[in-house]
Symmetry: C3
Amino acid sequence: MERRGYRAARGVRETLGILGRHVPLDIHAVPSGTECFDWTVPDEWEIRDAYVMTEDGERIVDFRRNNLHVVGYSEPVDATMSLDELSPHLHTLPEQPDAVPYVTSYYNRYWGFCLSHRQLETLGQGPYQVRIDSTLAPGVMNYGELLIEGECADEVLLSTYVCHPSMANNELSGPVLTTYLARALLDRGKPKYSYRILYLPETIGAICYLSRHLDELRRRVVAGYVVTCIGGPDDFTYLASRSGATLADRVALHALRHCGAPYKKWDFTRRASDERQYCAPGIDLPVCSLMRSKYHDYPEYHTSLDDLDFVRPEHLEASYDLYMRCIDTLEVNARYRTTTLGEPNLGRRGLYPTLGDRTHLVQEVEDMLALLAHSDGTMDVLAIADLYDRPTTAYGSIAVRLVEAGLLDHVEATGC
Amino acid sequence: MERRGYRAARGVRETLGILGRHVPLDIHAVPSGTECFDWTVPDEWEIRDAYVMTEDGERIVDFRRNNLHVVGYSEPVDATMSLDELSPHLHTLPEQPDAVPYVTSYYNRYWGFCLSHRQLETLGQGPYQVRIDSTLAPGVMNYGELLIEGECADEVLLSTYVCHPSMANNELSGPVLTTYLARALLDRGKPKYSYRILYLPETIGAICYLSRHLDELRRRVVAGYVVTCIGGPDDFTYLASRSGATLADRVALHALRHCGAPYKKWDFTRRASDERQYCAPGIDLPVCSLMRSKYHDYPEYHTSLDDLDFVRPEHLEASYDLYMRCIDTLEVNARYRTTTLGEPNLGRRGLYPTLGDRTHLVQEVEDMLALLAHSDGTMDVLAIADLYDRPTTAYGSIAVRLVEAGLLDHVEATGC
Amino acid sequence: MERRGYRAARGVRETLGILGRHVPLDIHAVPSGTECFDWTVPDEWEIRDAYVMTEDGERIVDFRRNNLHVVGYSEPVDATMSLDELSPHLHTLPEQPDAVPYVTSYYNRYWGFCLSHRQLETLGQGPYQVRIDSTLAPGVMNYGELLIEGECADEVLLSTYVCHPSMANNELSGPVLTTYLARALLDRGKPKYSYRILYLPETIGAICYLSRHLDELRRRVVAGYVVTCIGGPDDFTYLASRSGATLADRVALHALRHCGAPYKKWDFTRRASDERQYCAPGIDLPVCSLMRSKYHDYPEYHTSLDDLDFVRPEHLEASYDLYMRCIDTLEVNARYRTTTLGEPNLGRRGLYPTLGDRTHLVQEVEDMLALLAHSDGTMDVLAIADLYDRPTTAYGSIAVRLVEAGLLDHVEATGC
């Protein structure tokens, strides 16, 4: 689905403020009217109040109860009207009568309310007082950015969005999980890669960021993920990059294979978030997405039912583990080249059991031999691990020992 | 099976004359003795009469009843002989006792008759008057050609053969269907591609044509099909080019997947017609074949039972639709490149629904997004359509609109 | 498993002497202390006697009965001790109580005995007289080599090992089969390829040979096989080269598909013999292995139960046939290019049936057409045979006839 930067500007600033208490965010502001590739940063939408009120003064539809009740980007209205007059501006989901839908209208000036279909069916003829107290005026679009510097300039990108956080799986889970990942990275020692973490309004935010930093991103980003829809109850879901063959994809699939939980695999034809921008022709960043309950694939999607009952701590925890597994895999991954022709003599270096018998080698020795047998300077640790169905992380300390023993050389990558 | 240009010369001219009433054919004539690659155009075979007659004057085997009764390219004979003397010259199919087989002898001087095995078993000892009134003498080999000029010099080749049309599926169906395809192309507006349509004697005709036009064909032909065996009752059958990966192959498989009927896929090891020449090493044209009842794969093949009861109008109609689907796919196919970085803003161009809600996008918008997401200048419309399991033709008018809106650029191909 | 050049030096010389009665071997000697890549040729181990004797003078463990009873490379010992003192030096296989295990200790100075677990359980407290009469001293490492010169300098490598021949499948079967293959090659006419046949101590022998001849091997070897574990009762087992895609691999798989027996396929992750050296990064020779009962995959492996009851003549015969099929496939294989554009006229050369009818072509004509249809100078006979599921050897004499008829040109390979 196309999202064009829904942002109650004040709301976005408030969201970034809360996140900024947990990680040190740079808050950027881009003025309305700024050209970004094919787009223009829109005016700010300020929404103060919105309701439908009966003659008795009862607010039967009330923005203050749930901000989904007002169509996003609604222009102001202040009128009294009958149900018949109001009806074209009321949005419900007849097939989900208890849910309030999430509706926006950016490019057509419009106003409207969203409510449950069950409530709609109880409404009398009115008259109703109908009020939306909103403003559309030049201002800025904000986004948050955090760069965690690593040992190399090469970067891992984590991108999440902050435009409609009143829905829990899509989207609140994204910035929440991303923040915990950032926190963990900050609390560790310096990572190998630098990590660029973005909190953007969907679509317009990603396009705006790309328009300002494309060359740099293309030069530096080795792998990236759109972090969204990551708190719901469904199986892990992998959404491929356009090519499906980037390092980000390989790492995601490796992490999924070793996470011990079932998962679904979708190709780029099922895309619907900011991978649309990151993987667009001419942009071509190595970005895919790991989700749980995927946009469009669960009935609560884009309704008031996507709430804090739908998102559970245990789902977020498993998602956190999965993304940390990706990060750990990236950190360990490298290409090496053996320094000896033929196998090295491990025995005289104390790296091999002294007694040759039929006993199966300990796994660590097997892993060492695997690294030595395949490190030809082109195959990376991830590929070797996949060949042996081993977690890449198992090779980390072994590779370090073999480098220290002078048996493997690290093949330098650009930027690292 | 090797066919070496069977052609009762007068019969070929008659066939081309009939086809020429429906489409404007150029009739070419190549003199006997002309060298064509490893081959030589043979003398003309003129057959006026042929029979086996009893003492009572009854023609029990009679060329005038069915021209299959005489072995193709038979030399003249006029003699009276017993059944024992005649027998070595009689050809039947014991396992199909009612069928008259189709037999030829080009490179060995020989004469013979073909009849049903059932009839053979009723023959008395004779004597029989045996007569073949034929001539082998220098003349010409004819073939028909039609070039329908398109907007580009790049060509689609349709090749069919006209050497033994007394059998209906293999081969009359080929020139008949090809003629209706040519008629349809002539009756439409100017196509994108030029269409080169050939009516040749099998093998020697194709070799002769290639020997005269190879450079031109290699420069221009983007896809080609050998149209044969296309009127019988069996499933569609795809016979791959040598590589199996040409545009002709991709289009044929795409058309089959979307035709709604079952089909068989064979690789080049099952070839037996003029794809043998078009795909030969050093020729290497992108040519495959779409058939129904495939040569060698139905019992009526190369017998008198391959007749107008075996070929049915409804089969020809479905075949026509399949080949038109190939043509339409070729006409629509192209490579595009997006003009914007990131997705374009479709909304402000009126190309996108104004209200963002959960409703599934109409298919047309999905198709538009697919074209924009994958048009990187290398992936063609056919590949995008296959990725989304959509008919390529669905993208035709959408691509035009996106080009008009300035969002896609056509990537020029050579010759177009 | 890592093997580091076990060699009772005298034993190796004796083995090579016996093999040299069947084929003319060059015996090479490399002095102890010679540097070979990352390794050093070790001192010679001389073992004269070894036993555990009771007070009654009974040798209850006796090297003269089975040389497995002494741990390979044991240092000398001559002492009287109780069972408790002796126990740390006794090796058994509790899960295979009747088997004597094969144990070595190269890089740790050590001594020990191997016996069946059943025997261990009967031992009283002693005291025992314990004696190993061995010497470790500078000498040489020997290996055998035979070069059978062919018409071209390009080589096929057969490598087998001679360090622990007291076990029958792994390893006696290897040098025995290799010797019969060499004998057969010597008794034929001059082959197309040269054959380099090596009898080496495992690991150290291969590393030593590579360190002296790497450039030459890399320039010449087109395919090679490690011949080991080839006499047992289990299914044929293919162990791939590192890439799995060399000519050696293709030929091995082709031979297996046509040998009529079931077989197993393993990738390089299951390697455990000298393919570890031949396929190491930077060595990169096209070497794989065809086995029967594969190392590690049968319970008798590296025990006294791997004996002449386990290896049977009929297994060796089938293995001989399989390797000869590989050799014959290599000899026949070549790349050709057609000399005509389009198919040649086979009929006028007497290479094609004179009468064109529905009869299926004889297989020989089909094979001829296949060679002509695909010989584009890049596809080799092996690839064409695999496409048609035919044995490559079927194409041998046909290719010769087509070359003689001037219809195929041999595409010269380097070194041939």
